[in-house]
């Protein structure tokens, strides 16, 4: 497969950086082609603004992004990342969880690269989403380093369950433009990692990546799959009994 790793940590010798090196090595050993978008090394511009759009007359910010996409005037760094996404069979976002979400530079990769017209539709341009879309048929996966310990992110943990914290990213960012989302690789307790623990984490990550082609995706519901009403609410009775909130949007077996 062709694998794009979008990697965001300011320090190459961080745990996140070291695990990214492990990922690249393992994927190549398994015969995959790997490209890394190293956002910090590239000096990636994080903040979306009108300078991203070149010469467009549309005033509405979102529609201007769509006009720039349609007419080919998007900034070169954005177009290059869109090309990489189209090239890839699998996309990994590889980052530390900062304030329960993406580091700003990686959020800015999403904000700027997932433009109107490419990743979502508006203003009369209907683009299928949630399971369909420009990235349909490709696989997506998060590789996340979390400073805190696992119990604090468990079902009753004070921070909230990690799967719910990641839902806006996995469902709202990866699945939205069509990626099949694999269960995340989450390394907990990364504030202190000794050599033994690092070897353990590296081994677990290698195992997950070696199964990248076979792993079953999270069973999110396709928007076009007949489960939603016209206002985009889950139709009555479709939920897995006992689920609620974000869990409604995962199909049963």
């Amino acid at each position: 497969m062709k694998v794009l790793i979008v990697y965001a940590h300011p320090e190459p010798d961080s745990l996140t950086g070291a695990l990214k090196d492990v990922a690249v090595e393992q994927l190549r050993a398994d015969g995959h082609e790997v490209v890394v978008s190293d956002l910090y090394a590239a000096g990636w511009k994080a903040s979306a603004d009108a300078a991203d759009f070149g010469e467009v007359t549309e005033r509405n910010f979102m529609l201007a992004s769509g006009a720039a996409y349609a007419t080919g005037t998007l900034a070169a760094d954005i177009r290059a990342e869109q090309e990489r996404l189209l090239w890839a069979d699998a996309v990994l976002l590889h980052f530390p969880l900062w304030w329960f979400s993406l580091p700003a530079i990686l959020k800015g990769w999403v904000d700027r690269v997932f433009t109107c017209g490419f990743a979502y539709g508006a203003g009369g341009t209907a683009i299928p989403r949630y399971g369909d879309g420009v990235l349909a048929g490709k696989r997506g996966m998060l590789v996340v380093a979390v400073g805190g310990r696992e119990p604090a992110y468990s079902e009753r943990g004070i921070n909230g369950p990690i799967d719910e914290l990641l839902f806006p990213i996995q469902h709202g960012i990866l699945y939205y433009p069509g990626l099949d989302v694999l269960p995340p690789f989450v390394a907990h307790g990364t504030i202190r990692v000794d050599d033994e623990r690092f070897a353990e984490l590296a081994g677990q990550l290698r195992g997950r990546l070696s199964e990248l082609e076979q792993t079953e995706p999270i069973r999110y519901r396709r928007q076009a799959g007949g489960d939603y009403d016209r206002a985009l609410r889950l139709a009555p009775g479709r939920e897995v009994p006992g689920t609620g909130g974000f869990g409604l949007h995962v199909r049963g077996r």
Copy 2:
């Protein structure tokens, strides 16, 4: 009161920008002092990196942020925002919901300003959190423009309930360092807003802001309030019956 508005939209004539002007006007009319951190106008640096820390010898990125805070070598723009937070009695984050979260520039304000030692502890520095902390006794509130329509963000909506999408921000970012979090002001369907709808939204926002001092905060559980076990899981039987996930961390009446 002293009110800090942290505002993030690239276009001053956007809906978000216009509602920010309404907020400033109303708060001043009500006798409050208002300071706006206009992140785009200030050219705010979004991506946290070691250049933020000045001369520190600590290699671990998080601990280096704490060392820079402790020794006063943090970048001037970060120190200025920390001073504004300490000055304020209420803090509003005013932004459009992009990809179900903060725009990157505003996430970068959090990543860079909420340093170790200031907003959270690590490496032997215990700092109380979730209801206690450096911003305890102050009020926080989100003012959010959401492009999509309300049903798609309702209890069974395809995007997930808006309150759950905002939990990582309201609980994980605002409540964590101690802010009392007021219910958010959410404007839905902002892709198209005519004059009549704008007047309606502006009136609703004015109403909410006029009650800024009296509004009851969301009843999140204090970490130190006795509800959590030593591993920071909600103790058995403490939940409001029928709640789960993020909802566990809200107290009943």
